[in-house]
């Protein structure tokens, strides 16, 4: 069969067989009550206690007999290997055996998982067909998960053995893995939730109800054009998202340009300034805006006094949300764009200049078009971030309702109407998918590859004046504003009661983060410590996983060709278009019952972060990978490296900036996210942001702000550490020399 490396193939099969056996014979089959990381079970009746027993011991004790086909299916590949040693046409046979084992195994695992739950048969139909079961089972635990994983990789290895993607085990495995993840953690929960959109209050399916909800005037009304009422939430969201997308892209581009091509020494100071808002929980900026521009805000009262007018609530609504989102999301655009701006090969610009183009012409006709993928990505990110953000609209929205807050209130509010939430989610999805489609159209099929394998020895061009001067002004305004906002946040944490008593105090910090020495060592007495450690642990777990999944997916998308690649892309893109609120709701609805029981665990938080933030990893990866000349991979392949090795030694090192961006971003997002988190936290796994929101609801601004400040500082430290850890990629480029000013 095509290009199959049989040695590698057998080793791969062996590995997954081992994993499967480990899952079946050694690890507890069902989910443990005490969470993934407790190991109490080891000393508590394992391996015979049915709560902790591996499947093998369950079967030997005559329990859960419906699991008995599993070992048979697990041993199929072994049979395949043995048979294929005896028969000359081994490729066909082994491939078929593997596929069979994989498909049947996965299907059977899912079927039994969904069919039998904590109350026996999960459906009336099954009870009628087979009679009462008289037994029950919990969700998949370590054992069941590992067995599923090994079935999955049997399947992908089998597909590779049959010649797909030229028999490349690594690529087929990676594709299968990503598909399985996306299917399980995006498609399944979302479809599960959308199904509730076509149900009426009593759980009956009804299209009429669905359409009347979908086209209601609350969503699509245009009253604001004719009378003094607000428009439908869909229009509100759209207007806001378009503004935010466009403005953050513009600002991000300006920052990226000033940081890399202004020739200004101080430009590197911009980076920390733009990183600050990224590491700030979103509603904190909203709070600061209120402190500044609210009815009794510092600026509002100052201006009102100056002009002798009454202070107004002008900031609540579109202006406030817009300002807050610009502050929050511009840095994202900056991070996306700086990679792209740095990636534009200087020799291209030099080429243009030698073709008698002026600096301005060069910028307009060469540099800018080459940055198109980055610009499109930045816009898309801004657009979707704005659509998904609900911290700022919550704090600053006033009467300006947007989709994300409406979804939230549909679920947690008095209505508790999951159907309504699902309908709103569909509207949101339509918007975000359309934006994605438009971006695709705009980029077209052009190649934007500029980093070739030749090592570019050009020098980045200095910007033309007419770009530089407005850029300086914009950067100046933005920077000042940011500094003021952060000043407010910092100051607020040390003030007794904001707006009333401005005497300086440390009491908020002590309440939140007090530590006392006791005989047993340090005692973390402060009320915030619990959520703080949880947040740190979960973010640190989620970040590398997110980056890994995102970059592998990007690699598959950019560098590999396989059947149904478009469908694959659509699947991974879907998570990009689903806002956190929706993910949160979908997850509690989907993962509350077996076979996957995760509600209330830390795992569900980690998962939600991975799939919420994976698109950022993908985008960063795609943008920077499509600037890597493909002949670099090909050179490595012809030198005898396989795809895995090529990925590890050529692609990954060249992608360091993208990796750093993905790591930093997913870590920080996990620390600051609120929209999905608010649905998923539990008493045991409380996160910093939901704790802070709780304080805000109690009007405990002091602690809320003190905690936020602490978070910001901690993240700053972590971000810097990561920067050191990943290191600067050492792609050689001559450093721009300062050009002496011409007289």
């Amino acid at each position: 069969m095509a290009g199959v490396d049989w040695h590698l193939m057998n080793r791969t099969i062996g590995l997954w067989l081992l994993v499967g056996l480990l899952g079946f014979c050694v690890l507890p089959w069902y989910v443990l009550d005490d969470g993934l990381w407790s190991f109490e079970w080891l000393t508590d009746g394992y391996p015979f206690d049915t709560d902790y027993a591996p499947a093998l011991f369950l079967l030997l004790q005559g329990e859960k007999l419906w699991l008995s086909p599993v070992p048979v299916l697990l041993s199929l590949p072994l049979l395949g290997i043995v048979l294929s040693k005896l028969i000359p046409t081994r490729g066909r046979l082994l491939g078929q055996m593997l596929c069979l084992a994989g498909v049947l195994g996965l299907a059977y695992m899912l079927a039994q998982g969904f069919a039998i739950g904590i109350r026996g048969w999960n459906s009336e139909l099954l009870t009628q067909a087979f009679g009462e079961l008289g037994d029950r089972q919990f969700g998949f635990g370590y054992g069941a998960m590992l067995v599923c994983v090994s079935f999955l990789f049997f399947l992908t290895t089998g597909i590779a053995a049959r010649g797909a993607v030229n028999g490349d085990v690594f690529i087929v495995g990676a594709i299968g893995f990503v598909i399985a993840l996306v299917g399980m953690f995006i498609l399944f929960p979302v479809l599960n939730m959308l199904a509730s959109a076509v149900q009426d209050g009593d759980g009956n399916y009804s299209l009429g109800v669905f359409f009347s909800k979908l086209f209601s005037s609350k969503i699509w009304g245009l009253h604001c054009l004719t009378e003094n009422r607000s428009c439908g939430v869909a229009w509100n969201s759209l207007v806001l998202a378009l503004c935010v997308g466009a403005l953050t892209t513009l600002l991000g581009l300006v920052f990226a340009l000033v940081a890399t091509r202004s020739g200004m020494r101080q430009a590197h100071l911009l980076r920390p300034l733009t990183v600050l808002p990224i590491i700030t929980p979103p509603f904190v900026i909203g709070l600061a805006i209120i402190l500044l521009f609210g009815l009794s805000g510092a600026v509002t009262t100052f201006v009102a006094d100056l002009l002798g007018i009454n202070p107004t609530r002008w900031v609540y609504g579109l202006p406030g949300i817009l300002i807050a989102q610009l502050l929050s999301f511009t840095p994202i655009a900056f991070l996306v764009l700086i990679g792209v701006v740095e990636g534009v090969a200087p020799s291209m610009e030099e080429a243009s200049q030698t073709l008698r183009a002026t600096r301005w012409q060069t910028f307009r006709t060469v540099s800018l078009p080459l940055m198109r993928p980055g610009i499109a990505n930045a816009f898309l990110l801004g657009f979707i971030e704005s659509m998904a953000d609900f911290g700022n609209p919550l704090v600053l929205g006033g009467n300006y309702d947007v989709l994300s807050t409406e979804i939230f209130f549909a679920i947690v509010g008095a209505q508790n109407d999951q159907g309504q939430a699902a309908v709103l989610a569909i509207v949101l999805l339509i918007f975000t998918l359309s934006a994605f489609y438009a971006q695709r159209r705009w980029l077209g099929k052009k190649s934007y590859t500029t980093q070739t394998g030749k090592g570019d020895s050009g020098i980045p061009a200095i910007l033309p004046r007419r770009v530089l001067i407005p850029s300086y002004i914009l950067v100046g305004i933005w920077s000042t504003f940011t500094i003021v906002v952060y000043g407010m946040i910092f100051y607020g944490g040390f003030v007794e009661i904001w707006g009333l008593d401005h005497s300086i105090t440390l009491k908020h910090y002590i309440t939140a983060f007090g530590v006392t020495m006791t005989d047993n060592g340090l005692h973390f007495r402060g009320s915030a410590w619990d959520s703080f450690w949880t947040t740190l642990r979960i973010a640190a777990t989620a970040a590398p996983l997110t980056a890994a999944v995102g970059l592998v997916t990007a690699y598959l998308l950019v560098r590999q060709d396989f059947a149904a690649k478009n469908a694959f892309e659509f699947g991974t893109m879907l998570s990009f278009a689903i806002p956190g609120t929706v993910i949160g709701v979908a997850y509690i609805m989907a993962f509350n019952v077996p076979p996957i029981e995760l509600t209330g665990t830390g795992v569900i938080l980690v998962l939600s972060f991975i799939f919420r933030n994976m698109p950022v990893g993908i985008r960063a990866g795609v943008a920077s990978m499509s600037q890597l000349d493909k002949s670099l991979d090909e050179a490595s392949l012809t030198l005898g490296a396989n795809t895995w090795r090529t990925f590890r030694e050529i692609i990954l090192p060249l992608m360091k900036p993208a990796i750093l961006a993905a790591l930093v971003f997913s870590f920080v997002r996990a620390m600051t996210a609120i929209s999905a988190v608010i649905f998923l936290v539990s008493a045991e796994h409380n996160m910093a942001t939901s704790y802070i929101i709780g304080r805000v609801e109690n009007n405990d601004y002091g602690i809320a702000i003190a905690y936020s400040t602490t978070l910001i500082v901690v993240m700053l430290v972590v971000v810097l550490l990561m920067q050191l850890l990943v290191g600067k990629s050492k792609v050689g480029r001559r450093v721009a020399q300062k050009v002496p000013p011409t007289v």
Binding site: M1, A2, G3, D5, G163, N166, G167, D168, Q451, T452, G453, K454, G455, D456, S457, D629, S631, L632, E634, A635, S636, L637, T638, L639, G640, A641, N642, T643, R645, E649, I650, P653, L654, S729, K730, V731, G732, R733, R734
Partner: protein, 362 residues
């Protein structure tokens, strides 16, 4: 160069059997091509842009898979083997040096991947760098090298693996003219010295003539002709090859009769009557190709000749270039005689070298 260098050759032959490559279900980049490259031979794929040279090369490397047909390297059928598993190295047009690795790391990459021991890696890499004249450059990054040096690193990187076949895709296209001649000579020298099998893609006929044992001329996804440089130059199969390799005067003529037994054809051109190798053609219209240096101008001629007038006379240093108008078309001629020249307007007699004119199918 010494014989006990650390790099040997495992040169093997390459064979295409009716190989077709179709991109995206439509574009036929290579159409039913069969070709053979002997072990230790340097074969050039020559042809205009877009004729399928790069695609052919990439199919040898395993970077593209055939749509139909099969490929053999040595005795082995490699049709379905991916690039990783073929013993073939390639020097890319863009060099494709890994920008994050220094020269030493670049050159030793393939050796590290094949898990050689440290000592061998060090030895082979250094030998490779020596071979291309870059000993001592190991610590540099690719961006700190000139174009020519980068190119040599790419060659060294491919060489140290002692591949069965070494591929070059327009390796000189990023170099300046002087360097081009030098580098192509170096490549040829390395090839003969190490006895490598090399497949070399270029669109430059001069380059092809200079480096090749054999040239395969490609046209529209197929092979137009294959042969030694001399064969191609002197016995082009058709007017496309005649024109693509060097310049040629190509004229319409009539074959009046063919002597199949002797393999000769009778062609008349004005009062000239030529007996030429018939090359399998029969009586009827045909084309006549004559290289400019096989056309001689004389003031007077005793043998039958074409009368003409010099229209253009150019002195280009080491030879003269003439354009002569006759009743049977305009002829372009080159003469080594730069001392006695014909001026424009001069009456001349045009004669052909004995083995100069070649018949081509119409």
């Amino acid at each position: 160069m010494t014989t006990n260098i650390g790099i040997k050759s495992k040169a093997a032959s390459v064979e295409f059997k009716q190989v077709t490559k179709i991109y995206g279900g439509e574009v036929k980049a290579v159409d039913e091509v069969s070709l053979h490259v002997d072990a230790g031979e340097l074969v050039t794929l020559l042809g205009p842009s877009g004729c399928g040279k790069t695609t052919t090369l990439r199919m040898i490397a395993g970077l593209e898979m055939v749509s139909s047909g099969s490929i053999f390297i040595g005795e082995q059928d490699v049709t379905l083997l991916p690039a990783t598993d073929r013993d073939v190295s390639m020097v890319f047009q863009s060099y494709a040096l890994f920008p994050h690795m220094n020269v030493f790391e670049n050159v030793s990459y393939g050796l590290r991947v094949s898990k050689l021991n440290k000592k061998d890696i060090l030895e082979k890499t250094n030998t490779g760098l020596e071979l291309v004249g870059l000993a001592g450059y190991g610590d540099r990054l690719p961006s700190e090298l000139s174009g020519g040096q980068q190119q040599r690193v790419a060659v060294a990187r491919a060489l140290v693996l002692e591949p069965q076949v070494l591929l070059f895709d327009e390796p000189l296209s990023n170099l300046d003219a002087k360097l081009r001649r030098q580098v192509r000579e170096e490549i040829r020298e390395l090839q003969t010295e190490l006895g490598l099998t090399v497949v070399y893609v270029t669109h430059d006929q001069e380059e092809a003539l200079a480096v090749s044992d054999r040239i395969i001329v490609m046209r529209n996804a197929g092979i137009a002709q294959s042969g030694s440089p001399r064969e191609l130059y002197e016995q082009p199969a058709d007017s496309f090859v005649a024109d693509f390799i060097g310049e040629a005067n190509i004229m319409d003529v009539q074959i009046s009769s063919v002597d199949d037994h002797a393999g000769l054809a009778e062609v008349s051109l004005g009062n000239l009557s030529l007996r030429l190798a018939s090359r399998g053609m029969s009586a009827g219209p045909a084309k006549l190709a004559v290289r400019p240096n096989r056309i001689h101008l004389l003031a007077h001629s005793d043998v039958p000749s074409l009368a003409g007038v010099v229209k253009k006379s150019t002195y280009v240093g080491n030879h003269m270039e003439y354009v002569v108008a006759t009743d049977h078309g305009e002829w372009f001629s080159i003469s080594d005689n730069v001392d006695e020249v014909f001026r424009a307007g001069a009456q001349v007699q045009v004669v052909f070298s004995e083995r100069g004119p070649v018949l081509l199918p119409d």
